[in-house]
């Protein structure tokens, strides 16, 4: 920021970032870079509920951040990570996952909602955390979204072969000398980062939708795992920009509008598959 008055050549692009719409669009595209490949793993490994539990815990993270004067993003990251590690630990011990996740996901949301109600400022603006507030994304938010998303992409690319092998078969991964439990942890960490980053963009209630719907749409048009992940990025970005447009045009809440566009694309893809 300090350099801005000095380096004149980039002033135009900086001015462009003053436009809240441009920032919102960039945030949506940045987020889909991470949700595309991560969402593919969530679909392949049937972790949808897992994503929900982690995302819902983000509301509790908001309360924690407000109580301790931490940045919202950090509070969210810490609580989402704690939730994700807990769930992963329970699943490794062979708990009945469907029930356990159901209990955890909804309890986390309820506790979070009760906890934030103690902060009157948030109370008035609760829907921003539940459904996102992409039109209010600041430059700092934008930097966080892109840094977080790029970190997740880097992590997934680095572990890609091992993650894919462990997803196809944990036994094959084991026999090849890989550690499936460690690869699971990679996904857990990536999920927590995505939750922290996505809270502002689509909100706690719809993060899991942003992971699952574009990936599920991409399934129909892909022949390899890589193609599916890349297609999910493109579909996620298109949904983000389309939802932004819908929100402007009809004055609808932006987070849900993004998911509406994603859902329509999914419906179209199943029609195409049947035709």
């Amino acid at each position: 920021m300090m350099a801005m008055p000095i380096i004149i050549t980039i002033t135009t692009s900086m001015t462009m970032l003053d436009d809240f719409l441009v920032r919102a669009g960039l945030a949506a595209v940045g987020l889909s870079l991470a949700t595309g490949p991560l969402g593919a793993f969530v679909v392949w490994r049937r972790m949808a509920y897992f994503g929900d539990a982690t995302a819902h815990a983000a509301v509790l993270g908001v309360a924690l951040a407000l109580a301790t004067d931490l940045p919202i993003g950090l509070g969210t990251l810490v609580v989402a990570l704690a939730m994700a590690v807990t769930v992963a630990g329970l699943s490794a011990r062979g708990w009945a996952m469907d029930t356990t996740l159901g209990v955890l996901a909804h309890s986390a949301l309820a506790f979070g909602l009760v906890a934030v109600s103690f902060f009157p400022t948030v109370r008035t603006d609760l829907s921003a955390y539940l459904f996102g507030d992409i039109l209010a994304v600041s430059r700092a938010d934008l930097v966080l979204v892109w840094l977080g998303a790029l970190a997740v992409v880097a992590l997934l690319v680095w572990r890609w072969q091992a993650l894919l092998t462990a997803t196809v078969s944990e036994d094959l991964a084991h026999a090849a000398g890989l550690r499936p439990d460690r690869e699971r942890l990679v996904l857990v960490i990536a999920l927590a980062v995505v939750v922290a980053v996505a809270l502002k963009v689509v909100g706690a209630l719809l993060i899991a939708a942003m992971l699952i719907i574009p990936a599920a749409t991409a399934r129909g048009i892909a022949r390899t795992p890589e193609a599916m992940a890349i297609a999910a990025v493109a579909i996620g970005a298109a949904s983000g920009l389309g939802g932004l447009g819908l929100s402007l045009w009809q004055d609808t809440p932006t987070g849900p509008s993004i998911i509406v566009v994603a859902a329509v694309l999914f419906a179209l893809s199943t029609l195409r598959a049947r035709a």
């Binding site: 196809v168 078969s169 036994d171 026999a175 599920a216 795992p225």
Partner: protein, 254 residues
């Protein structure tokens, strides 16, 4: 000098001893079959040798840098994952197109590289799993009930393929089975397992061992006698099926 060995291993699940005091060695180039009824710990033994399961007592000894190829009992790829045969062969180590094509050709699956894994039949899937295992140039190939769900001709041709692999690559082969005569025909050595090793030896020795008869009963003994019979006298294929039944009954009554 053995490639891999189990030295008096015990494996327990929640305090239940599934394997008790099991020792075995696999030498280069031999085909060893582990035979046993359901729940006898066959898969557990294989998984312990692979290092997937921890052993409670005893040790697994491997030659340093041992290359193991593993063909699991079955592979359930989630239908939500699109993956071609060619892409699957590059997991976890990326292989060249030439190497992938050669491996597919060896298992009789040439030209199937572009197909989706989920579209393969049971027999085709087993062959692709074998191709993937061979790409690691293994010194030991471990197969867990590789012919489960295959019909009789499919089973027979899969075992022929295993023998070819041994002949061409010199890899030792350790496989699990609960089907009897075909696998006996393809093995140098059979280990009969029921929580512990009941008996072991050449197929002929094992098939006459009292421990083996106690475990598998008389009907099975008939099938084994059939195996011995076929291999002692080299009958032709053209007097096939009725012949089988004839001898089965003959030995059953004996």
């Amino acid at each position: 000098m053995s490639l891999i060995a189990a030295d008096h291993i015990c494996v327990r699940f929640d305090g239940n001893e599934v394997l008790h005091d099991v020792s075995l060695q696999i030498a280069p180039g031999e085909i060893v079959t582990i035979l046993g009824p359901n729940g006898s710990g066959k898969s557990t033994l294989l998984r312990a040798l692979l290092g997937i399961l921890p052993v409670a007592e005893g040790r697994i000894l491997r030659q340093a840098g041992l290359r193991i190829g593993y063909v699991p009992q079955r592979l359930m790829i989630d239908r939500t994952m699109p993956i071609t045969v060619r892409r699957f062969l590059s997991l976890p180590v990326r292989v060249s197109d030439a190497a992938a094509a050669e491996a597919l050709a060896r298992v009789g699956m040439a030209g199937h590289g572009a197909e989706q894994m989920t579209a393969l039949s049971g027999g085709q899937l087993q062959r692709v799993l074998l191709a993937r295992a061979l790409l690691g140039n293994p010194q030991v190939l471990m197969l867990d009930e590789p012919t489960q769900g295959l019909d009789q001709p499919g089973e027979a041709s899969f075992y022929r393929l295993i023998e070819e692999v041994r002949r061409d690559t010199g890899a030792a082969i350790l496989m699990i089975s609960h089907d009897l005569h075909v696998v006996m025909a393809a093995s140098d050595r059979v280990i009969c397992l029921n929580g512990h090793i009941c008996c072991e030896g050449t197929p002929r020795v094992v098939s006459t061992a009292p421990e083996y008869r106690a475990l598998f009963g008389l009907g099975t003994q008939g099938a084994l006698a059939l195996y011995r019979h076929e291999h002692d006298h080299e009958h032709r294929a053209d007097d096939g099926h009725a012949h089988h039944h004839h001898h089965y009954h003959e030995h059953d009554h004996a």
